[in-house]
């Protein structure tokens, strides 16, 4: 490589220009260039944006009201979408009607495709009423099937005949926002304590370090369980939701604090901080205008790695029945239905929320990895 540059510099001005642009590019541009190289992280960013869009437009995307029971359709397996009917003629996207059967021995209901009935999928249909972003009452849903009594269950239904796809889409709102809000709280705690420890040092540093160590040395799940059990059952779900995020944050701040503290320690004695101090900038100004911005990228990377932890925490707590409780819909709450072998054996599609969780966590992890690599664009 070095031999090449030696001989090539004189004859290839094009390379020169590119090199120049990388000298003058702003840090943010450099980071973006580095980040773009991490293909997996780029894709994950796309997936995450998509997930949050789904959460934001839950009402529009879900074909049915997530709370609406349907006595006639318990445990309907996921329906597959067809394009051609039995005789091979093109019908456009459709699902077959449902045929109810009762096992004569076990008296258990089961459903089969009724190939004689074709329910075409229609887009932008009128469905159950909902309020778009809690403001505009509307009936517009992205898709549905024709016929007032027909239903489409692309992910099946649960024991009360509620559409799993609609519930999954609505659950995304809670699960994905728990991550964000929890991280926000732990970010506030972590960055305050971390910067105090890194900046002042001495006794305060020791005390904060010990505190972090203490929190880390208690096994998280028993601690979560203990704190979550303290929330009364009859409280307002919204309040419980907020408190759960606070609990997650109270335990999750240590990692962020460690990152912030470590970084403060390294940049405390760097030239630009010294320069700011010599030109008479106040301590607050140095911290808020010079030091904190210089570590934004690290903090963002740490945050994107902390979000999946929070999501996992919420899911685990709700799964055990100590976190969010029905009627709140979150992915953890949905998984409660799949808690024992009998229900999984009967209705394996109840595990689908688990797939959504895994995809989300993986996407955040990849994104975090990519951001961490891109965090310091001046590093080789």
């Amino acid at each position: 490589m070095s031999e090449q540059t030696l001989s090539d510099t004189a004859v290839e001005p094009a390379v020169e220009v590119k090199e120049n642009s990388s000298y003058t590019a702003k840090p943010l541009t450099l980071m973006w260039w580095r980040f773009k190289k991490h293909k997996l992280a780029l894709w994950s960013l796309g997936v995450i944006i998509l997930l949050y869009l789904v959460a934001a437009f839950a009402g529009f995307l879900a074909p049915y009201d997530p709370f609406k029971h349907n006595r006639l359709h318990p445990f309907v397996p996921p329906q597959s979408i067809h394009l051609f009917s039995e005789d091979g003629t093109f019908q456009g996207p459709f699902v077959y009607g449902l045929k109810r059967q009762r096992d004569p021995e076990t008296a258990r209901l089961s459903f089969e495709e009724d190939t004689s009935k074709i329910n075409r999928i229609r887009f932008f249909v009128e469905g159950d009423k909902y309020k778009f972003w809690g403001l505009v009452p509307t009936k517009l849903r992205l898709f549905g099937v024709e016929g007032r009594r027909n239903r489409i269950y692309i992910l099946g239904t649960d024991k009360l005949g509620r559409d799993l796809f609609s519930r999954l889409v609505y659950g995304a709102r809670v699960t994905l926002s728990v991550g964000l809000i929890g991280v926000f709280f732990s970010f506030v705690i972590g960055i305050t304590l971390g910067s105090l420890a890194g900046l002042i040092g001495g006794t305060i540093d020791t005390v904060i370090q010990r505190m972090a160590e203490l929190v880390r040395s208690i096994p998280t799940i028993p601690l979560w369980l203990g704190l979550a059990a303290a929330l009364p059952v009859n409280w307002d779900p919204i309040l419980v939701y907020l408190l759960i995020t606070v609990i997650l944050a109270l335990i999750g701040w240590t990692n962020l604090a460690r990152v912030v503290r470590g970084h403060f320690m390294t940049i405390r004695n760097q030239d630009f901080v010294l320069a700011a101090r010599l030109s008479g900038a106040s301590k607050t100004r140095i911290v808020t205008r010079h030091m904190l911005p210089s570590m934004t990228s690290y903090v963002i990377a740490a945050i994107s790695l902390a979000i999946p932890e929070m999501i996992l925490g919420e899911t685990a707590l709700s799964f055990l029945g100590l976190g969010l409780r029905p009627p709140v819909i979150s992915w953890g709450v949905l998984l409660q239905d799949a808690q024992n072998l009998r229900s999984i054996a009967l209705a394996p599609w109840l595990l689908i929320p688990g797939v959504a969780i895994v995809v989300t966590i993986l996407a955040f992890n990849f994104l975090g990895d990519g951001l961490r690599d891109a965090a310091d664009p001046y590093q080789k």
Partner: protein
């Protein structure tokens, strides 16, 4: 060195004190107490208890005394007599209920830790020495999957697979025949045949994370001049790799033992609930729901103490194995 260990030991004392107080406060946090929960349970089954009886039960359990007094009695009992109090729910001494379960939890956690290493180290070394090979890519994908799947979900899926394809009931630690039998070789064998599921579930997550670390460390070490020198001396690849860079790359393993332990114990709690294991999980969950505070407190306390000991050991080990760390 001795000074460092003594220093660390001394520091763990205030940590322990804070943990005991925190534990007690946490279990006192829920509004009401065990008696309220107990009465609520009775009311559900149709029985009614008047205020007088409730007060009587409360007095019997000492629940009517001020909190600090309850705390002092509790902690005094533990320190002086090793007495963890009475489980209100089971009407049995706490120590009778928990030691068996904590033993099993520790056994599973330890085995999982070993398993984590047994998976992560060889694969990490292989991936680093054969970077970008087919198997390296495969392990990378598997590693990321392992990191993304929550323990309890993996347990659920394994349970389902076991049922679907092998008609084998994954769950519990003993077959029904041995459940209440006294300890024997046969029972031990039975335990082993059930143990692999929780151990596998618990070790995948950690192994996936450590595998990446091991690979990254190895890649860094392999590029260093001393490795070149070793090759130049005519040593075989096996000798070079396992004697030098692996030893350096192992440091993070030792330094994370302390964190791995709480993670494994946490993981065990939730996995145990899914797999219905007779470890701490299900009992802790129930005791928290019933506000059986001495039982819950005993669990959280002992698990935390083991974690602190684990962290301490890993810190000491790290200083012993890595001469670059100064312990002034």
């Amino acid at each position: 060195m001795a000074g460092y260990i003594a220093h660390r030991l001394l520091w763990s004392i205030p940590t322990l004190i804070v943990i005991t107080i925190a534990t007690f406060v946490i279990i006192q946090l829920p509004p009401g107490d065990y008696v309220t929960a107990y009465i609520a349970e009775l009311v559900e089954t149709g029985e009614v208890i008047d205020a007088e009886t409730a007060a009587h039960i409360r007095h019997e359990f000492g629940l009517d005394r001020p909190m600090y007094e309850q705390f002092l009695t509790w902690i005094g009992g533990i320190l002086l007599h090793g007495d963890f109090g009475l489980s209100l729910d089971w009407k049995l001494p706490v120590s009778e209920l928990i030691w068996d379960r904590i033993g099993l939890t520790l056994l599973i956690s330890m085995l999982s830790l070993l398993m984590t290493w047994a998976i992560a180290i060889p694969i990490g070394v292989y991936s680093a020495t054969r970077q970008y090979s087919f198997l390296d890519h495969l392990f990378t994908v598997l590693g990321f999957l392992g990191r993304g799947i929550p323990d309890f979900l993996l347990a659920l899926v394994l349970m389902w697979m076991g049922f679907l394809y092998f008609n084998f009931h994954v769950g519990g630690l003993f077959s029904p025949a041995y459940e209440n039998a006294p300890w024997s070789f046969a029972k031990f064998g039975d335990l082993l045949s059930h143990l692999w599921v929780p151990v596998l579930v618990l070790s995948t997550g950690g192994a996936a994370g450590l595998l990446r670390i091991m690979r990254a460390n190895m890649l860094e070490e392999l590029g260093k001049p001393y490795v070149e020198t070793a090759y130049a001396q005519g040593l075989s690849e096996r000798q070079v790799v396992w004697r030098y860079p692996v030893r350096v790359a192992l440091n993070p393993f030792i330094s994370t033992v302390g964190w791995a332990l709480p993670a494994l114990i946490s993981g065990d709690v939730i996995t145990a609930v899914v797999l219905n294991l007779p470890t701490t999980g299900p009992l802790l969950l129930r005791s928290l729901q019933n506000q059986d505070m001495y039982l819950a407190g005993g669990f959280i306390l002992i698990l935390s103490v083991f974690t602190i000991i684990g962290t301490l050991l890993s810190d000491i080990l790290l200083v012993l194995t890595d001469p670059r760390i100064r312990h002034s």
